[in-house]
Symmetry: C2
Subunit: 248 residues, 2 copies
């Protein structure tokens, strides 16, 4: 048995999410079906994050265990060939130790959220950004974001379907910056609650639009109540960017 770590890039648009679902296509199913077609083995893929329908990944980390011997480069090529034309690609594949786990060994996760702040509808990036027509004050958003950095009870910013036992999480970084008409939010943490990034971004957008004062974000956090949430940002602007593992 060999454990292969996979780096996955995918367009979340046509999927019901990363995790296997009964009611539609998933990234997990795409990879597992391709692995079965190649190896004849029923594998289970584990991943650093469990992204929702419509959420994209630039470099999700996952692993699968395969009995038959395979060269990692050959496995990557075969998986990519089998998955066409699904918008999932294995961009890297390596053999890892049997106790390395894409989810449980992961000590850091980075998400990026892309807001296109302009009047005109999206063309080339349709389904890949959240369009907000009215001008956003990204500096106010960045200042308000700093209320969320640190160790907090993030109940306000958590989906009703979140399965985590503990709403206490440490948010290491939440930066907002502008590049032309693109407003980028980057979030780093060891782990996130379900919908946490989208909930934080949606609420910061209200600050950026001038509908919320910056301090209201701190009040919403302190409320520890989903009803205090400003807005949940749509899935299509969210990207899983990086999973971090201990060196060695």
């Amino acid at each position: 048995m060999t454990r292969f770590a996979l780096t996955l890039e995918f367009d979340g648009g046509p999927f019901m999410g990363l995790q296997r679902q009964d009611h539609g296509p998933s990234v997990q199913q795409a990879v597992e079906d391709a692995a079965f077609a190649i190896t004849g083995e029923k594998v289970t893929m584990h991943s650093a994050g469990r992204t929702d329908s419509g959420v994209h990944a630039l470099a999700m980390r996952s692993h699968v265990d395969i009995e038959k011997p395979f060269d990692p480069f050959r496995l990557m090529e075969a998986l990519n060939a089998k998955m066409r034309p699904d918008p999932v690609a294995v961009t890297a594949c390596e053999v890892v130790a049997a106790d390395w786990h894409a989810r449980f060994s992961c000590i850091g996760r980075r998400y990026q959220y892309r807001i296109r702040n302009r009047r005109a509808p999206l063309t080339l990036t349709k389904g890949q950004e959240w369009q907000i027509a009215r001008p956003l004050d990204e500096q106010a958003m960045h200042r308000a974001a700093q209320f969320l950095v640190g160790r907090h009870d993030f109940t306000t910013f958590r989906s009703a379907h979140c399965q985590a036992k503990d709403p206490l999480k440490t948010l290491d970084r939440l930066d907002v910056r502008r590049e032309g008409d693109l407003v980028l939010v980057e979030a780093d943490a060891r782990s996130f609650l379900h919908h946490q990034v989208r909930s934080m971004v949606g609420t910061l957008a209200l600050v950026g639009l001038g509908q919320w004062r910056e301090e209201q974000v701190a009040q919403a956090l302190a409320a520890r109540d989903r009803q205090a949430l400003g807005l949940n940002a749509p899935a299509e602007g969210l990207y899983f960017v990086e999973a971090i593992y201990p060196a060695g």
Copy 2:
């Protein structure tokens, strides 16, 4: 009568090209049909470039003449509303002098060509980049590109369907650079022949792959013969980036 200059962004994928065609949808038809729906006037759109099927634009410049009085912001909003869900957007609209012409007043055009240099298939940028699996030497490509800069007879790099009277063109800049696994080619000229950028990029790719020596690009140019062309790069990696007009 008022002349409106439009800045257009579009995904060229679903169109037969910018110019109106008998056999399928075009960007020109999308804009003209929207203008007709709004104004009741049959307008003709003129544009800085005439991009092929599959070629994209970040900021094409065009103009239309409209008899009814319109505020340019309102016209832009109405055009964008009517063109949904076609992937064309008017990102700017302004009133210009009656003798300003999107095509004939234009004194500079900039194109960008995007090559994704990796094994893995494209996901998020499918139809928006040319994927080349084998490693490209972008520095050799840049050196070879310099043979093409200047005033030359570009017959070798011209489509058989090119309607320009004169194959003599002045190429002001042709730069190749790498950003991670993205190899970017940027071309500046007052005007280009049909397929010129794609023909230059395709031929430079052969140099990047080591199939052509750098000097062969100079020899192909000197041949003034379409048969001497290395390769025509696919439309999907090409972007019309900027049209330049005299100040004032």
